[in-house]
């Protein structure tokens, strides 16, 4: 067996100590009618053969295109120190820190993660991690229902469609209601959450609202009037949930600043590889008053019996292994190593570095906007954005497919994720980050211009 230490002699010794003839005897409790014999799977492979197989499979993916694709998962530069530290076996081969005396490494890093995220979000308390941005958003919405004892949340259409779908899956189980808040159709606020509609939805006296969920930047890349949304939510007795992107929080107003009660988001941009969707990092933060309804693990600072400072999992009475059916969530294993990656990333890049990452992305995006407009693809919405925006492209799906042939991954055809929205049928969602090179922007504009039948492109 590939990784087992037992020799034939070891096995014989063990059988003798147990007092049975063969290992088959140890499976005697399996009813005869239920026994199966073996597995119909391929033969074992040596490490050399396996490594070749994995190399070939990885090679069948195309990661060589010039990419402007974001839409909830972002390319960034990750300092080399991040992965080197993650490869410490003491971190990645440990279990949940149930024995704090021999888990101070994991415990202190989780405490540091909670602290870093509290600073970034401007909120008081952060869970040790959730699965991803979508499930953290769903858990945040569930929190608002428990805290207010109401059964309905309002979710902006500007929240990532996959997050909204995940929230609906979670809500269906709990028999709770999630209603959409529409987006403004036209004018200067086009594409952002419709405040008049929000006010109407909040005013329904028969269906009081537990929480209002809005993303900033929105799925379409737009900056939302978060402070105003928070005021409307609170005036109706609802809690305000912000779905935030962590790198943007280096430069944008924080959930704490604009009055959010809970923030959810995905920590993937903080040093985690794209990895076709996971493992990512669900961020869930809240105000102090909500901490006892916060799902997921928490680590606190304390001291040992000698008075030495130490860290320990705490407020455990919220959790499934203690409270069972009355727990605030069933979450157990979370994404601890991803939270560690995010912490190392933040510590390595530092406060000014993180600001540079966000601001450089914004600068590159502005260059991209100019270049694409010149190539015949103007922005779809007029409002402010950070580093991601939608552009109007006739036959967007077909053009996107043809650009792949030219080595360009031209963002996301919005029709793929929002097939029901006619206003997004001919639009691409594109993003730039600090790793987007000016030459890549020029190549995109040139290829797009050629596809759209334009002549020369301003470079």
């Amino acid at each position: 067996m590939a990784y087992g230490p037992h020799t034939t002699q070891d096995r014989a010794l063990m059988l003798e100590a147990i007092g049975v003839e063969s290992v088959d005897a140890l499976f005697a409790d399996i009813p005869v009618s239920l026994r199966s014999s073996g597995l119909n799977l391929p033969a074992p492979e040596s490490e050399a053969e396996l490594s070749e197989r994995m190399r070939l499979l990885a090679g069948r993916n195309r990661v060589d295109l010039v990419s402007f694709l974001g839409a909830g998962a972002y390319r960034h530069y990750t300092p080399a120190v991040v992965d080197q530290m993650l490869l410490r076996g003491e971190f990645y081969t440990a279990y949940t820190p149930y024995q704090p005396e021999i888990s101070q490494g994991t415990l202190q890093t989780i405490y540091e993660y909670q602290s870093l995220m509290a600073e970034l979000t401007g909120l008081d308390v952060v869970s040790a991690s959730h699965y991803d941005g979508a499930t953290a958003t769903a858990e945040a919405a569930l929190m608002t229902c428990r805290a207010t004892r109401r059964d309905r949340v309002l979710v902006s259409r500007g929240v990532h469609p996959h997050y909204r779908e995940t929230l609906c899956t979670y809500f269906a189980g709990a028999s709770l209601i999630a209603d959409d808040i529409p987006l403004v159709a036209d004018g200067p606020a086009a594409g952002t959450t419709d405040l008049a509609a929000l006010e109407r939805l909040l005013g329904d006296p028969d269906h009081p609202v537990a929480g209002v969920v809005v993303a900033n930047p929105s799925f379409l890349g737009l900056l939302e009037p978060m402070a105003e949304i928070g005021r409307l939510a609170h005036a109706a007795g609802a809690l305000f949930v912000s779905v935030a992107e962590p790198v943007s929080l280096a430069v944008l107003a924080t959930p704490g600043e604009y009055g959010a009660d809970i923030a959810a988001g995905d920590g993937q941009p903080l040093g985690l590889p794209l990895s076709y969707g996971g493992p990512y990092l669900g961020i869930l933060a809240c105000r102090e008053a909500l901490v006892r309804g916060l799902p997921g693990r928490l680590v606190g600072m304390t001291a040992d019996i000698d008075g030495k400072r130490a860290f320990v999992m705490t407020l455990r009475a919220r959790e499934q292994d203690i409270r069972r059916e009355k727990a605030s969530s069933n979450i157990c294993t979370n994404q601890a190593l991803c939270a560690l990656a995010a912490s190392i990333y933040l510590a390595a890049i530092g406060p000014h570095g993180l600001r540079d990452v966000a601001a450089l992305g914004a600068a590159r995006a502005a260059e991209l906007e100019v270049a694409l407009a010149a190539a015949g693809a103007p922005r779809l919405h007029p409002g402010p954005y950070l580093n991601e925006f939608a552009v109007r492209v006739p036959n967007a799906v077909a053009v996107h497919a043809r650009l792949i042939g030219r080595g360009i991954l031209a963002g996301l055809p919005l029709a793929r994720l929002e097939p029901g929205d006619a206003s997004l049928a001919d639009a691409l969602l594109v993003c730039a980050t600090e790793v987007t090179a000016p030459a890549e922007i020029a190549a995109f504009a040139e290829a797009l211009s050629a596809e759209l039948g334009g002549s020369d492109v301003a470079r």
């Binding site: 067996m1 990784y3 096995r11 063990m14 140890l26 026994r35 199966s36 014999s37 073996g38 597995l39 119909n40 799977l41 490490e47 396996l50 490594s51 994995m54 990885a58 993916n61 195309r62 990661v63 530290m85 024995q99 021999i102 101070q104 202190q108 989780i110 405490y111 600073e119 040790a128 499930t135 995940t166 609906c168 189980g173 590889p273 794209l274 076709y276 493992p279 990512y280 928490l298 680590v299 606190g300 304390t302 001291a303 040992d304 019996i305 400072r309 130490a310 320990v312 499934q320 292994d321 009355k326 069933n330 157990c332 190593l337 991803c338 190392i344 390595a348 000014h352 450089l360 914004a362």
Partner: protein, 503 residues
């Protein structure tokens, strides 16, 4: 553990000095943010940076290396944590998951750009279906608990699709993991707890009495959390089916039964698998894991979307939005914890069918050997052969010496071992759930028994030594009461003065 006691160190925040660090990314133009209204910026545009630590890279490396050395891990030593399957995590799998073709692939690329990963996911689904005897598998759930939620939401969708709205109860044995009842609640069901019989199995008569038109499903962990195969399994599955309910298997303990027992063939309708247990993906200090779910015929239409498809031309793709309206929907943003699944796939290919059977055989052999040896020093309540883990009890030791399971566990740390799972399952007094896994050598297992023998002797000769254990760990027993009464959950300027920084 090597002299780790001196490695307790300051937090990132205490190490921070203004002006340190930097040099990782280029600077943006000064006016990069000028186009954004000031009231939308952090600190209303005052330019206030987040108060993140400023640390040089050498200090950063030492910070994390020193912290890592405060941890016990599988790479450090024996980790017999019952129900957690702390087996060795092969290094080739770490290498494979980091190949740029896997790691740099965006989750929303068109299928044609993701053929390698999609093929891997499709083959992994097929392999897990074979191992579980299931019709189909979804790889989306991020962890076992999310797999449970996915499974129970499918059960709910199944009953509702038949217009059967009265099924509001999920039956769960009292020895189950806490995630089972917590999952039932999250999916909108009421939990009915079924007691255990004296032999450690489910009390079949109590179970039958609880069945009825309100029964949506039974959730059974098999082998159970006592490490025992549910010997009256056929009766349980038949009875729940006769009552119109479905049978859910918690596959947390799959490591015992690969190739010997296929839950789907035995009649289970749905099961989750913890790849971070059976398929050796690292536990990461509490994740990330992955919790694939296998289903039989009845639940096939309800699998979460999008499924991975093999198209008639041999290429692979994801279902498009709305392609299968019966689906319970999405359970997460993207396809799954793919980086984790790459590791699980590599593990399965390394072993092949014969190797995986050997994994389970060796895991059960090692557990039974260790059980026979531990019985020399502690009470082992269930005499019949165990599967991959077994329960020992310190109840007798406690009545003789006052030494509890907790004390034995903490003293094991001084002997260089990670303690077993303690006080679980809840059905055994002073329980110690011990799971050696198949990757520990005979010498290690023997050394563990000798440590337990010494500790039992100490319990009689010097009980105070055990009450105050551990003695050699970086910190000793913690004040958990104050931690909960006055929670300090994030660094603030004041914190340092209350509890002095160790350096």
């Amino acid at each position: 553990m090597t002299a780790a006691g001196d490695r307790l160190g300051p937090t990132l925040f205490e190490r921070s000095r203004p002006g340190r660090g930097g040099g990782k990314v280029p600077h943006p133009p000064k006016d990069a943010l000028a186009r954004i209204p000031a009231d939308l910026l952090r600190g209303a545009g005052t330019g206030t940076a987040a108060r993140l630590p400023e640390i040089s890279e050498p200090e950063l490396a030492r910070h994390y290396v020193n912290l890592s050395q405060l941890n016990y891990s599988v790479d450090t030593g024996f980790y017999p944590l019952g129900s957690c399957t702390m087996k060795y995590n092969p290094k080739i799998n770490e290498w494979a998951a980091r190949l740029p073709g896997f790691a740099a692939l965006h989750p929303l690329v068109p299928d044609e750009l993701a053929q390698g990963t999609l093929q891997l996911l499709w083959e992994l689904e097929s392999a897990l279906a074979e191992i579980g005897g299931m019709k189909a598998v979804t790889l989306q759930p991020a962890a076992g608990a999310q797999g449970e939620l996915t499974g129970i939401l499918m059960v709910r969708a199944y009953h509702l699709s038949r217009g059967d709205t009265a099924r509001t109860e999920v039956l769960i044995p009292d020895s189950a993991h806490g995630t089972n009842p917590a999952t039932a609640s999250m999916a909108g069901f009421t939990t009915v707890t079924i007691p255990s019989a004296p032999d450690g199995g489910v009390d079949v008569e109590a179970f039958r009495a609880a069945l009825g038109p309100r029964t949506a499903a039974i959730m059974i962990t098999n082998p159970s959390t006592l490490g025992l195969f549910e010997s009256r399994l056929c009766e349980l599955i038949d009875a729940v089916h006769e009552a119109g309910g479905l049978a859910y298997m918690d596959g947390a303990n799959l490591n015992a039964i690969m190739g010997r027992f296929k839950p789907g063939e035995a009649g289970f309708d749905v099961m989750h698998i913890n790849v971070h247990k059976t398929f050796s993906t690292p536990h990461g200090g509490g994740g990330p894991g992955a919790g694939p779910v296998g289903v039989g015929e009845k639940l096939l239409p309800f699998l979460p979307s999008p499924r991975v498809l093999r198209r008639p031309d041999g290429t692979f793709g994801l279902e498009t939005a709305g392609e299968r309206p019966t689906s319970i929907g999405r359970v997460r943003a993207f396809a799954g914890n793919t980086g984790v699944l790459v590791r699980a796939y590599a593990y399965i290919r390394a072993h092949g069918g014969s190797g995986l059977c050997e994994v389970s055989d060796d895991a059960v052999l090692a557990a039974n050997y260790l059980k026979a040896r531990v019985a020399e020093v502690l009470v082992v309540p269930f005499p019949r052969p165990c599967m991959h883990e077994f329960v020992a009890s310190a109840a007798t030791l406690k009545s003789e010496t006052g030494i509890r399971t907790l004390d034995v566990a903490k003293r094991l740390i001084d002997y260089g071992f990670h303690p077993p799972t303690i006080y679980f399952p809840l059905t055994v007094e002073e329980a110690m759930l011990i799971e050696p896994t198949e990757t520990e050598s005979l010498e290690t297992l023997d050394a563990f028994v000798e440590a337990l023998r010494c500790i039992v002797a100490e319990a009689h000769s010097d009980p105070e030594l055990l009450h105050s254990a551990p003695h050699t760990s970086p910190v000793r027993r913690l004040d958990e009461t104050t931690a909960a009464r006055q929670p300090n959950l994030a660094w603030r300027a004041m914190t340092g003065s209350q509890t002095p920084c160790p350096d």
